[in-house]
């Protein structure tokens, strides 16, 4: 049994992944309507991103201690009490921290392009359940299809599992394609009319 907006595959106005997004939503009634319903601007630059930029730069320069300090500032703000040490800082850790801190803020595409791992993460083949649950936390984990996690609460009085939650990994029925990032996608397209107008402008690599 699910609620009015609970997970039902393929029905509109219902969550397909089992999740809703609350981040940066303006709670004012009518803020999501057409026109300028909300007077709150999207937050484009954040201090946390600067810290993560600094952490990444420090890591790439081999200063893992500094990187850990920067990242601990971000993590402490989010309420994580276990501090990272210099030995914990790996490339996978940097990638993961940016994913969780900057989720839904439009960074993923540009981050994956910058690290030049987009063609590995979005390789065009479908994501199976074993792909989903393996390599967790790895920067190059395949992520070509959006999987959902549907929560259910068990009602079975007398059974030890009564009142507990089960979570089911689900690939929503609407997901049929899979993301494919080609080498040519690393560069913006210079359109044909631009190149025709000036033959000295050449096309981008791999396009």
């Amino acid at each position: 049994m699910v609620g009015a907006d609970g997970p039902v595959s393929g029905l509109e106005y219902r969550t397909q992944s089992g999740f809703y997004i609350r981040k940066y939503l303006d709670p004012t009634v009518g803020s999501g309507r057409r026109g300028r319903g909300s007077d709150i601007a999207f937050i484009r630059y954040r201090y946390a991103e600067l810290l993560l930029n600094a952490a990444e730069a420090a890591f790439e320069l081999g200063q893992t201690g500094d990187a850990a300090d920067y990242m601990n500032l971000v993590r402490a703000r989010a309420g994580l009490t276990v501090s990272l040490t210099a030995g914990d800082i790996t490339f996978d850790r940097i990638v993961h921290e940016r994913r969780v801190e900057l989720a839904f803020e439009g960074h993923k595409l540009f981050d994956l392009k910058r690290w030049r791992i987009a063609h590995v993460v979005w390789d065009g083949s479908s994501t199976s359940l074993s792909d989903l649950v393996s390599n967790i936390g790895a920067a190059k984990q395949k992520s070509t299809q959006p999987w959902g996690l549907w929560p259910y609460k068990v009602y079975n009085p007398g059974d030890p599992s009564n009142g507990k939650w089960v979570f089911r990994e689900t690939l929503p029925a609407g997901v049929t394609g899979s993301n494919r990032f080609q080498f040519g996608n690393y560069y913006s397209l210079i359109r044909e009319d631009v190149r025709a107008a000036n033959p000295l402008i050449v096309r981008q690599p791999n396009q």
Binding site: H119, G124, S125, S178, F183, D193, A196, R203, P205, N206
Partner: protein, 233 residues
Amino acid sequence: MRFTKYCLGLSLCVVGVLSCKKDNYDAPNSTLSGRLLYGGDSIGLEKDQVPFELYQNGFGKVGALSATFTPEGKYSALLFDGEYRMIIPANQGPFLSKVNGSGVPDSLSITLNGNQTLDIEVTPFYMIRNTQIAASGGNAVATFGLEKIVTDANAKDVESVALYINKGQFVSPANNIALTELTVDSTTDMSNITVSVAIPGITPTQNYVFARVGLKINGVEDRMFSPLVKLTF
């Protein structure tokens, strides 16, 4: 209402008067077609992934007539008669790009006058040889060998090979119902590779699948495929 009809009649007359022979071209009716070949053997590709471009000068700005090769490595274009130049853009396809020093693709001049068949010779990095795919006991089993064609400074290593099966004739990493991928390294015997994939249940039931072997070359995006085989079981 009457006024509207009058306007409509008048505008039709105007269109009739203004039209002349110059605006009314015949549709293009010359077909340029051909195949990608290496030493007489065709090269299998992924659907809609490897492009070719035709250019024609003399009509203002020059833009490409773009199209892609079919999975069998064929191409065709319906064109007006005239002079064309054909290129395959750099770094496309599982073969060596024919480019000059500054990375500009080498072009092929074509004078089209009626239907024409023009096969294009390319130098693939590898060829898939002696492919045999058969169905046995709920599995599709492929045996084949790889021949290294480019051995000079441009040589590339094989990353992996895979056997794909699909319900229909488009068989590729994006379109398949099952695949088995095999990583290839220096210890692999290139002349004799066997890959097997279990054929899953198909709804609605059909007693055949299409299969082909794909080859991924390190640092090359487009895969190369063996000829398509229909397996009946």
